[in-house]
C-alpha cells in the first residue's frame, strides 16, 4: 500500500528519488533530443532543455507549435518517438508512467471538472487517485490556497469559468507535485479571471513550486517565468527574457528633441558608444549602442554641445513579444525559401 504524504508548499531544490538514470536526476525536468511524431506529422522534434527545481519555466509558441504535445509527453500520456527525458528525477519510460504521474501534476487547458460534483468532491476523487493520506484535510488546504473554501460545496457546473480554473489549479496542487505542468492556464479567461490565475501562479512561484507553463500569451510569460523556451515544433531559443532580448536585439536609446538636428551624423557618430543611428520622426532619433549606461550621458553632452533642446533620452526596451515575433517571422521566411 503506497500512500503519498507531503505538504502543499514545496521548497526549491527538493531532492529527487526513484528510478532514474536518464539525462539528469538533478533537474526537475531534463529533456534531450526528444521528438514526437504522429505518423508523418512532426509534433515537435529534437527538443533539449532543462528545468531546475523551484523554477518557473515558460514554454512559448504559436498554435500547433507542439506545446500541449510536449506537456502530454512529459506527463507520460504520450510516448515519445525518440530522445530521452527525466521528469521529477525519473526516467521517461512507459514502465515508469505511474511513478512519474504520482510525482507531477498536469493541469490541461480545459479544466476537465466533473460538473455534477461539487468542488470538494472533485478534489476528493483526485486525492484518492493519488492515494493521499487524510484526503479531506488536503482538499480543504488546496481550496484554501486558491481561495475557494467558501465555494467547496458548490456544484462545479454552477461555477464561473474563472472559478473552475481555480478548482482545477487546486486539484493540480493536491498531491504537492515535484513539477506542476500548466497548459495555457488562462486560455479563454477574461482579464479579471486571468489576473486571479496569474496571482495564484505568482504565489506558487514565491513558495518555490516548480512550474512548467505553456502559453502563447507573452505578457504572461514575461511576468511569471524565470526562463522561457520559444518553440515552433523545435526549440528556437531558451533563456531569461532579458537574455533573449539581448541575444536578438542590440540595445538602443531613443532621443526626442524639440527640433531636428542640423547635422545629426556629426553629433551621433562623434558620441562614444553609438554604433548606428536612424531618424524615426521629426526630432526623434533611435541610436543603437553597446552600453546604454555609458552612451546616454555622452549623447546628452553631444546634444547640448550642438545646442539641441532635449525633451527625453530613454532606453528603448524590446518586449518578449518582439523576440517572439522576430523568431516567428524568421520561421515564416525560412518556410518561404
Amino acid at each position: 500500500m503506497e500512500q503519498v504524504e507531503a505538504p502543499l508548499a514545496q521548497a526549491p531544490g527538493r531532492a529527487s528519488s526513484g528510478p532514474s538514470g536518464g539525462p539528469s536526476a538533478q533537474s526537475a525536468v531534463a529533456v534531450e533530443h526528444l521528438t514526437k511524431r504522429f505518423g508523418d506529422r512532426v509534433a515537435f522534434e529534437d527538443m533539449s532543455f532543462r528545468v531546475g527545481y523551484g523554477e518557473v519555466f515558460g514554454f512559448l509558441g504559436p498554435n500547433g507549435a507542439g506545446k500541449t504535445t510536449t506537456v502530454r509527453t512529459l506527463g507520460t500520456l504520450l510516448a515519445p518517438t525518440s530522445g530521452a527525458a527525466t521528469v521529477a528525477g525519473i526516467e521517461l519510460r512507459p514502465e515508469n508512467g505511474p511513478a512519474i504521474r504520482s510525482r507531477i501534476s498536469v493541469m490541461p487547458e480545459s479544466p476537465g471538472l466533473y460538473l455534477r460534483l461539487t468542488a470538494a468532491e472533485n478534489l476528493e476523487c483526485f486525492a484518492r487517485l493519488y492515494r493521499l493520506s487524510d484526503p479531506h484535510e488536503r482538499v480543504d488546504r488546496a481550496l484554501q490556497v486558491v481561495n475557494l473554501t467558501e465555494r467547496a460545496s458548490d456544484l462545479c457546473r454552477s461555477l464561473s469559468k474563472g472559478l473552475r480554473q481555480r478548482v482545477a489549479l487546486a486539484r493540480a496542487l493536491l498531491s504537492d507535485p515535484a513539477v506542476l505542468f500548466l497548459d495555457e492556464p488562462t486560455s479563454g479567461l477574461d482579464p479579471v479571471a486571468s489576473r486571479e490565475v496569474h496571482d495564484l501562479i505568482a504565489a506558487l512561484r514565491d513558495r518555490g513550486v516548480t512550474i512548467f507553463l505553456t502559453t502563447h500569451r507573452l505578457e504572461e510569460a514575461e511576468r511569471l517565468c524565470d526562463r522561457v523556451a520559444i518553440l515552433n515544433t523545435t526549440i528556437r531559443l531558451v533563456g531569461r527574457p532579458d537574455e533573449l532580448r539581448a541575444q536578438l536585439f542590440k540595445t538602443s536609446i531613443e532621443v526626442r528633441l524639440r527640433a531636428d538636428l542640423a547635422d545629426p551624423a556629426t553629433v551621433f557618430t562623434g558620441a562614444l558608444g553609438v554604433e548606428r543611428w536612424e531618424t524615426q520622426a521629426s526630432g526623434s532619433y533611435l541610436l543603437t549602442v553597446s552600453d546604454p549606461d555609458a552612451a546616454a550621458p555622452e549623447v546628452a553632452r553631444a546634444l547640448v554641445h550642438a545646442g539641441a533642446d532635449i525633451l527625453a533620452i530613454t532606453q528603448s526596451r524590446h518586449s518578449l513579444e518582439d523576440v517572439y515575433l522576430q523568431l516567428v517571422d524568421e520561421d515564416v521566411e525560412a518556410k518561404k525559401r
Binding site: 502530454r72 504520482s102 476537465g112 466533473y114 460538473l115 455534477r116 468532491e121 482545477a168
Partner: protein, 244 residues
C-alpha cells in the same frame, strides 16, 4: 505499483455521485425496470390456466426473459458512456494524468455500471416473485418458482450484466461519439440473452448441468473480455483522439 482498489474505488464513488445527480440516469434506472416488471406480470396474470403445455411454457419463459433484459440493457447504456463520455466532457485527460492504471480505471468504471444494474435487477425480480406468489394462479406460481428457472435467473443476471458492461466499455474505448457507443453497446448486449431465451423457451431443455455449463462459459468470456478491453484501452489514442 500494484493494482489499487482505492483508486478503482475513487472512480466508482465518483460515478455513483454523478449518477445520483443525473436525472436521465435516474429515470432510466427507475422506469425501464418498471416496464420490464409490469409486462411479464400482466402477461402471466392474463394466462388461462390450464393452457396447452407448450404455450404455457413459452409464456412463462418469455416473462422470465423480460427479467434479464434489464441487466443486459442498463449496464450497456451506462458503460457505453464511461470512456467516450469522459472524453467528450474533457474529464478523461486529468484522470489519466494521475497515477491511475488502466486496469484500475476500467474496474472502477465496470463496477459503477455493474453494481447498480445488478441491485435493480434483483430487486425487480424479487418484486416479480412476490407478485406472482401473492396474486398469480398457483399453477403459474409453481411454474415460475421451478428450481431451474430460478437458478437460470440468479445465475445469468450478473453474467449477462458483466457481458454488457465489458462490451459497452470496449465500444466506449473505440468510438468517438456517445450516441454511437450507446447504440452499438445495446446491440452487443443482446447475444447472451439469445442463449438464455433458448433455455427459457425450452428449445434447449434446461437442466442444472446445462445452465452451469453456459454460466461457466459466460464467466470465462466475461473474464477474457476484461483482458481484451484492457489491451484496447490505449491512453495515447484516447488523449489525442485517434492520431496515434
Amino acid at each position: 505499483m500494484s493494482f489499487s482498489w482505492a483508486r478503482a474505488g475513487a472512480i466508482l464513488q465518483k460515478e455513483l455521485r454523478d449518477y445520483r445527480r443525473n436525472r436521465y440516469v435516474i429515470y432510466t434506472m427507475a422506469f425501464l425496470p418498471l416496464i420490464f416488471l409490469a409486462i411479464p406480470i400482466v402477461e402471466l396474470f392474463a394466462v388461462h390456466v390450464p393452457a396447452a403445455s407448450a404455450k404455457f411454457d413459452a409464456r412463462i419463459g418469455l416473462s422470465l426473459l423480460y427479467m434479464l433484459i434489464e441487466p443486459a440493457i442498463i449496464p450497456s447504456v451506462l458503460s457505453a458512456y464511461s470512456v467516450v463520455g469522459e472524453r467528450e466532457q474533457g474529464t478523461l485527460e486529468p484522470v489519466l494524468a494521475t497515477p491511475i492504471r488502466r486496469e484500475e480505471f476500467l474496474v472502477g468504471k465496470a463496477l459503477a455500471a455493474f453494481l447498480p444494474a445488478l441491485l435493480v435487477a434483483y430487486v425487480i425480480f424479487g418484486v416479480f416473485l412476490g407478485a406472482i406468489a401473492l396474486f398469480a394462479h398457483p399453477a403459474i406460481a409453481s411454474a415460475v418458482f421451478e428450481r431451474d428457472h430460478l437458478l437460470i435467473q440468479f445465475l445469468f443476471t450478473p453474467l449477462v450484466a458483466g457481458w454488457s458492461v465489458w462490451a459497452g466499455i470496449a465500444i466506449s474505448t473505440r468510438v468517438s461519439d456517445v450516441r454511437a457507443a450507446q447504440q452499438l453497446a445495446t446491440a452487443a448486449s443482446l447475444p447472451p440473452l439469445g442463449i438464455v431465451a433458448l433455455m427459457q423457451f425450452n428449445v434447449i431443455t434446461p437442466s442444472l448441468g446445462l445452465a452451469l455449463g453456459f454460466a461457466a462459459a459466460l464467466l470465462v468470456i466475461d473474464g477474457l473480455a476484461w483482458r481484451v478491453v484492457a489491451t484496447m484501452f490505449n491512453r495515447e489514442r484516447l488523449v489525442t483522439g485517434g492520431r496515434s
